[in-house]
Amino acid sequence: MARILFAFGAGVVFAIGLLVAQMTNPAKVTGFLDITGRWDPTLAFVMGGALVVFGASWYLSRRPSARPVLEAAFQPPNAQVIDWRLVAGSLVFGVGWGLGGFCPGPALVSAGFGDARVWIFVGSMLAGMVGFNVATGRKG
């Protein structure tokens, strides 16, 4: 139960951060990507703020004695290889990000605003994820 409440709280803080930074406004996102038009550098400042805070917390967790509060050990991603999947997948994701103005986090927050088009985006995104899992036989 502690883990559930904790994760819910982290999701709430994450969403408040996205709202304050206006990343839940698709026009801000496409404005950042519009480098040949009216470029809006806001997103770079969002990333900067997030990188400093998470970077510091990650650095502190590298001490041998460091443990997460609710788990036995940290579980960092173990993939190391830069392969075609990483490159092709990221390129495909970027095209969708630019077309819609949403990446997954802000899309979930904006889904609460009530515009049916966001629900269409989220439904289609979840369908794409399920389709990928089924096609590749992913088991978690």
Binding site: R3, F6, A10, G11, I16, G17, L19, V20, A21, M23, N25, K28, L33, G37, P41, T42, F45, V46, M47, G49, A50, V53, F54, S57, W58, S61, P68, A73, F74, P76, P77, A79, R85, L86, V87, S90, L91, V92, F93, G96, W97, G98, L99, G100, G101, C103, G105, V109, G112, F113, G114, R117, I120, S124, M125, L126, M129, F132, N133, R138
Partner: protein
């Protein structure tokens, strides 16, 4: 069309909160706060570490709904494109993030902060193709 204005201070503050949420997820649960991976792992529909992921997603969705209820039309939101564009964009984001193992949060924030070469490459790729997509749209519309 409304022009989005540059807003560095809310951006830095919001970014710091996003970093704080990622730090809470890391220090509390020992996990990376990558939204596309959290969703992808939920959608394999197997028991196990289900609960925390669902709770994280509920926090995102619920906060959006509460913000709308409190702020109403004062909440900035300008979305271009109709249902067709949303379907295509959503599919590309869904498939792309699973094939590429991450999105803006997992690669762009957490990965780069961990100095992961994989995440740096991924971030450069999705920023470049995102810019190309916006450029292509501006030429077509």
């Amino acid at each position: 069309m409304s022009i989005a204005e540059f807003s560095p201070w809310p951006a830095l503050a919001g970014g710091a909160l996003i970093g704080l949420a990622a730090a809470l997820t890391w220090w509390g649960l020992g996990r990376i706060a990558g939204v596309s991976n959290i969703l992808g792992q939920l959608l394999v529909f197997q028991r196990g570490h289900w609960g925390w992921r669902l709770a994280f997603v509920a926090g995102l969705l619920g906060t959006g709904a509460v913000a709308k209820a409190l702020l109403g039309d004062a909440l900035p939101f300008q979305l271009e494109g109709g249902a067709g564009r949303m379907i295509l964009a959503g599919l590309l984001v869904g498939v792309g993030t699973q094939l590429g193992s991450g999105c803006t949060s997992g690669h762009g924030v957490c990965g780069i902060a961990r100095l992961s070469p994989r995440s740096l490459v991924a971030t450069l790729c999705f920023m470049a193709s995102g810019m190309a997509a916006v450029l292509a749209l501006s030429r077509m519309v």
